[in-house]
Symmetry: C2
Subunit: 358 residues, 2 copies
């Protein structure tokens, strides 16, 4: 009963009286146990008691303290979304999908930006353990297996998105090999045989898979792989710009490393690439065709409009959230692996527009 007297907390302006089940119980003339049952309709509560409780709760503008609840029932209804950088246009869509699923199901989501930095990743993971989140959706960059395992050992459900890590955890991704093959084959189909590739950071499985798809496509058509045609970027626009400059310099040195098309491992790098091309007076797609990856919403506003491999970003986030909740309720189930299919979107950067507006 102490609660009743302590709930008027001195706090700046005046004092705030946050209502608790004790107050509700008092007002309704029942015990806290009854209040709890009534509010969560669990156990038996007489119709009449329930009404009184609900009425009292409303009058007092009662709002449950979910932190207190999570203390007793061991669930926080919180999931974390840990990704490299929400500023990278690929992620907001994923985040949106995850958040939508989460909030539809009573969870709220904590946002963490790691910048692909090991230190930040493990700091966040540690923090999330302290917060006792129920699950983590993780676009890993470099986290060590052990920090992930620590989470799992704490009973936290973890699912990876977009970036795989072997076979340890549930994963929601798209088929990057297939996607890269789609892109490369599209270029080959257009008659290109000298196709440059600007890859993502090689430590990422995602990047390696796309490189793999590029190589496989080449091989399947009997086109020799020329490693001088591939450059590594970091998924950011500027790196695509630099990569293209390097490729161009190389090409002009006259060592036989010319190319007529480029496949960039994501749209941002493709954008940088196109800028570099333009700066050198080269025209897309006339002189060099370019295809990107992701189909971020601005791919269609670039000029020429960017041909790219579309990933179902929103769905990835949504499904990741769904998967993480499933994992929570079934910690021992078999590993969940959701591999979505990317699709080729042909626009103007690989094919001249039928009716040029010029």
């Amino acid at each position: 009963m102490w609660n009743l007297f302590h709930t008027a907390v001195a706090l700046g302006k005046w004092w705030i009286a946050i209502s608790t089940i004790y107050k509700v119980a008092q007002k309704a003339g029942v015990s806290v146990a009854t209040v709890s049952r009534a509010l969560n309709d669990s156990g038996y509560v007489s119709r009449e008691a329930k009404d009184r409780v609900l009425e009292a709760a409303r009058e007092l503008d009662y709002h449950m303290n979910v932190n207190a609840r999570s203390l007793t029932c061991g669930k926080t209804y919180t999931i974390a979304l840990v990704l490299p950088d929400i500023g990278n246009p690929f992620f907001p869509a994923v985040a949106r999908g995850a958040e939508d699923y989460a909030s539809d199901n009573g969870y709220c989501v904590i946002l963490c930006n790691t910048d692909g930095n090991l230190r930040k990743e493990s700091d966040y993971l540690k923090m999330l353990r302290s917060r006792k989140v129920d699950g983590v959706i993780f676009a890993v960059s470099v986290a060590s297996r052990s920090s992930l395992n620590a989470l799992a050992d704490d009973g936290i459900a973890v699912v990876l998105v977009d970036r795989d890590l072997g076979d340890s955890y549930d994963i929601v991704k798209t088929d990057n090999i297939a996607g890269a093959m789609l892109a490369t084959n599209h270029l080959i189909g257009l008659g290109h045989t000298r196709i440059a590739f600007i890859s993502g950071p090689m430590p990422l499985a995602t990047s390696r898979e796309r490189l793999r798809g590029y190589c496989d496509a080449l091989a399947s058509k009997g086109i020799p792989f020329d490693e001088r045609l591939v450059t590594e970027g970091d998924f950011r626009m500027e790196s695509g710009h630099r990569a293209m400059q390097a490729l161009l310099a190389n090409s002009r040195s006259g060592d036989g490393v010319e190319f007529t098309a480029v496949f960039a491992a994501n749209d941002m790098m493709a954008a940088g690439t196109m800028t570099a091309l333009e700066e050198e007076g080269l025209r897309v797609p006339a002189d060099v065709a370019v295809v990107g990856y992701d189909d971020i919403n601005i791919a269609s506003v670039m000029r020429p409009r960017l041909s790219t491999i579309a990933q179902p970003k929103y769905e990835m986030g949504w499904i990741a959230a769904e998967t993480v909740t499933r994992r929570m309720s079934e910690p021992d189930g078999p590993r969940l692996e959701e591999v979505l299919q990317p699709v080729l979107v042909v626009r103007d950067s690989t094919v001249e527009r039928r009716c040029a507006s010029v």
Copy 2:
């Protein structure tokens, strides 16, 4: 001491033993109070005791349960970021700024997307009360004063970002009137007198301020305001597209509503505008000059590159987070109002490139 026996929780796979201060206390041979003091270095703890505690904590891989802590000390170290849609390119940068400040200061951030929908806004606000977040950074669309007040009454610090609501709450924004004047004057300086305006949703203060800036600039140059030249959009690309189509149809009806320039209240609508223009065979900037607002990262990859009003988005988020923490520690301080200055970025959509690459 019950705690000691209950910490081995049966949970699926096997069982997980999450360590608590009780375990640490036991292992270190001290009381929980001492553990608490040692871990938070508060109060007196002998050097020796402290070492033993720290050692034990490390061996047990102890992680504090912050939810339990917040129950006793009334602080959750959580702030919420409530915005219309993280998918709208303007917001990720703001979010990033807020998250960076927050995590640097020991807070974590909950992400909420409202879609500018009253129902979602108030549901989230209610949820955040239950979660006892310490503060809320809110890009309001339509929330009623009363739901905001309910938060404040609960002792939750609230600061608005980007979108103001009168004078009730702390706010971090940019000077929209000045920004719109910058844009309009730029166009006027280029010799345009027939300038169309595609506004944001009029219920938003932000939109009204930009319209105001547009009008003021016109007026200051003695250019008559023609309401047939302003159309309302919703900040999304598609609405900019539609708005321009309407403007064009109008213009062609020959009623004297021609224009040679457009100012769109954000970059996404500017993008839609440019597409519509292109579809009609009009050239930017030769036939129609266009300027946007926000300077989202892709403004520079559009072709022609978009002239726009840059807002310090990251800083807005950062400062909003800083402001909300300040408000927490000083609930009674005077209203905080941070008005940042936007800057004009001139690119190719208003001025022909010096050296065309064609």
